[in-house]
Every structure is written in C-alpha cells, then in structure tokens.
Amino acid sequence: MPALIAGTIITIALAIVSLFVGVSDVSLASLLSGGWEGRPGEVLLISRIPRTAALVLAGASMAISGLVMQMIVRNRFVEPGTTGTSESAALGFLVVTIFAPGWPLMAKMAVAALFALGGTALFLRVLRAVPLRDVLLVPLVGIMLGGIVGAIGAFIAYRTNLMGSMLAWNMGDFSGVLRGRYELMWFGLAGCVLAYIAADRFTVAGMGKDFTTNLGLNHRAVMILGLVIVSVVSAVVLVSVGSIPFLGLIVPNVVSMLIGDNMRRTVPWVAVGGAGMVLACDIVGRLIRYPYEIPISVVMGVVGSLLFLYLLLRTPRGAK
C-alpha cells in the first residue's frame, strides 16, 4: 500500500510537470500575475490541462485494457496492438469517415468500437481454431491479423485520399489535444472502473475456462465483458489521440512480475503505472528537441521495444 501511494505521488508529480512544459510561458509566477483571464491562464485551461488529462486517461485505460486482454486470452503478450484490435478500430473509423462524415464524433467512435470488437472476436476465433503450443505464437497470429486488417484499411484510405488521416490514427500524438477535443476519453476511465468492479471475474477467467465454470461463472459472459472494455477503450484512444504502442504490454507485465495477477490488487497499480509511463514519455518527447515535439508513439516505441525485448528474453520459451 505505501508503495502504491508513492507511485501515485510520482504520477501526480509528472502530471504537474506536464502542465508546465511547453513553448508558451506558463509558470506559477505568470499565472499569479495574469490570472485566468491572461494568456498563461488560457493556455493552461485550453491546452495544458486537457493534454495532461488526456495523457492520464489514455495511459491508465490503455494499460488496463492490456491487462484485461491478457487475463481473458491467458497470454502475457497480448494487448490491443497485438490482437488486431487497434487496426480494426482504425478501419471502422475510416469506414465511418467515408460513409458518414457528418456524424458526431461520438457516433464515429461507437462504430470504431464495434469494428474493434469484431476484429478482436475474429482473433479469438482464429485462436480457437488453431490451438497454439507456444505462448509467443499467439501475439504473432494477432500481429498478422492486424497486418491484414491494416492493409485493407490502407488500401481503402489510399483510394479515398485519406492516407493522411490513417497515418495520424496509427501514430499516437497528444500535441493536438485541446479543450473540447479529448472529452470522449473519459469513457476510458469508465472502462477502468468497470475493470476494477469486475476484477475478480477477470482473475477467475485468467485461471481458465474449467476453473471459471467450476466457480459458477459464465466464462463467455466474462469474455464478452472484457472484449467490450478493451474495444471501447481502444476505439476512444485511437479516435482521440491515435494508438500508443507497447503500453498495454509493458505495464501489466511489470506489475505481474512484482505483485502477481490478482486483478483486485493489480488494477490500481496498472492504472497508475500506465498514466505515469505515458506522462513521462510525453514529457520526454516534448523536451528532447525543444521547442519542437516528437510524437509519443515514437518515444513509446523506442522505450517500449527495449522493455519488451527484456520481458521476452526473461520468459523461457514455451513457458506457461
């Protein structure tokens, strides 16, 4: 418990730093002299606070959706990015952008979530048809499926001159976050809360279908609940800021190494860890070639792939 409080304090500190990093001069002194009406106050309210809130929400909810995915698929190496979920959400968003460009963002997000649900369900179908012995083959199948869905999306986008948008969705970037353009991400928080409420069910599902049935739970219902959480979170994050690689993989794995897989205990850790990691990577991206920015997906890609490599190498092949 004290460690969790310490982690939360670090994440809050990162959030505060995030509020004050940027080209426009926002500092305590300038805020005090200018008040809310002055330029620093406006920048804070319109840009910095929304950006920081978006970082925290995206980080926590993507990490949680990775955790939920790992429990229901019973594989350490799955997350929305390795199961075709993100690519399917992007395809859905593309389709709705072409056929119903006038729809409100909320409705477009819902379509993206439905596609994400369908894509992930397809992934689970494939897994059931091809029983895999090796733990690493499961995410490979997902990455292949994601590749196919992504290629279909790219083809459609190419024919409809939407390659630019497609690229933006695939590349997570928080520089465009402004007040009024990130609020959908509060759905991510709802996903986290739901995951916490149903934590015991997901842990039981993580023990396998037979154990789940023995304990009187409907395995299918738990799977569907998990899929809905993962799909909505993935769609919301994709539509709002673009996909963030590795996050859902690394944070839950590190937490599992440290305190195990009982979700009742790990959900707060994963949420705080995810938020902290995204905040840190975004701050690095903003500082490394100041005053310009590097998108978070690039920073996360570098940091994440190194950490992922480490996790892969310490897991003996074929381990359960």
Binding site: R76, V204, G206, F211, N214, G216, L217, N218, G260, D261
Partner: protein, 252 residues
Amino acid sequence: MIITNQVTKNYGTSCVVDGVTLELPQGGVTSIIGPNGAGKSTLLSMVSRLMAMDKGSVTIGGLDVTKAKSDELAKKLSILRQDNHMTARLTVHDLVSFGRYPHSKGRLNIEDKAHIDRAIKYLDLEPLSGRFLDELSGGQRQRAFVAMVLAQDTDYVLLDEPLNNLDMKHAMGMMKLMRQAADDLGKTVVLVLHDINFASWYSDHIVAMKLGKVAAQGSVKDIIRPDVLNPIYEMEINVHEIGGQLISVYYG
C-alpha cells in the same frame, strides 16, 4: 446422489462415452477406474458440466446439471480436472480464496476466511501460502488446487486423477483426506484413479470403465477380483488379501 442417464459423447466418428447410465450413491468415496481411453475423464467432465454431452442427462442431488444455474451448482459441486495449466500468477492463498467465490462473490466474510485457513492447513500448505503458484513444484501446486476445491465446501467433490504429481506420502495423505471428507463431513467424493490399489484401499464403491462403457461396478470386493479386472485391463492381475485389504499385483 449422482444419476447419469444414457450419457454419450462423440469425437467425430469415435464414441468416447457410450450411453453411460449410473447411480452413484450419496456419501462415501467412489472411484472410477479403467485403462487409458476408457472415457473416465470425459464422463467426469460431463457430469460436472465442464463439457457438453451429445446425449443423455445428469442430475446431481436433484439438479439437472445442464439446466440448473451454474452459480447454484458451484455451491453443491466442485470439480478439479487433471493438467491444470495456470497462466495467472496467483499466490496459494489467493487461489484457495477463489474457492469461496461461489459463496462470497469476492467479499470474504469470517466464515469464508475460516474455510480458507482450514483448507490450507489440511493440505499442509501453511508455509507456502504466500508463494506464487509458478514457484511451486508440481505436487505442491496439485495440493493447492485441491485446497481450493475443499474451500469451495461442496456436498459433491469430483477429482480427476488427484494423485497426479504426488509422491507416496502426499498421495496417501490425499486419499486419507478424501476418506475423512466423506466420513466426517458427509461429502460425496468421486475420483478418477489409475492406481487400483489406492482405489481398493480407500473406496466404498468402484466403477470400472472400458471403451466408453461401464464394464463393472459395485463394492470393492465385487470389483477387485481377477475375473473382473483381467478382461478390463487385458492383463494378468492377481489379487491378494493383505491386512484385510485387497491388493492387486500386476508387475510382471
């Protein structure tokens, strides 16, 4: 009482369990024996609703297992299969606590905690209770799974080869525990066993299966006989009475 009526399971064209009709008595220890491929585990899986049956019906204590609510059944019946691949990293204590899930739905009260502590103690797991399952030996893990099933505290306890991975001492301990659960707590214990001598020593009732059918059933002295066992296992089995128990000798 567990009643199966014409229970059948096919895999493709081969019939694994072929119209099994059984009445397993209330209370006591029943062992299901038979050679590999006899359909013992499949039958147990269908009786415990883990696997759908193609034909037939099963009632446990008056509840139809395919129609009754799963969470109600979970308070009456517990099942542990063999080969439990656990990917989740849980501690022994966490795992055993989840055995209370059907009763507590995640909120453990004092009674739940007492059941958990007792189950951990019964299976000699106290020193390991804070350890993660992936840090345990196969036998320790098997005991942790059985502790979880005991914590579930159901009238009917079904175990598929519970002696897997256990050394002689713990195998004997496990069988004594099953005997105790039946005698002291009035539970109905159904086991799939490979070791016919354990079955002979500890059971009240034995069901022998072969090729998906019940080949013979009855009390120990009805089943542990050369003329019954030899055709079932297709080998020479001699039975000797040692210390009042029927012991089979089949080593060469």
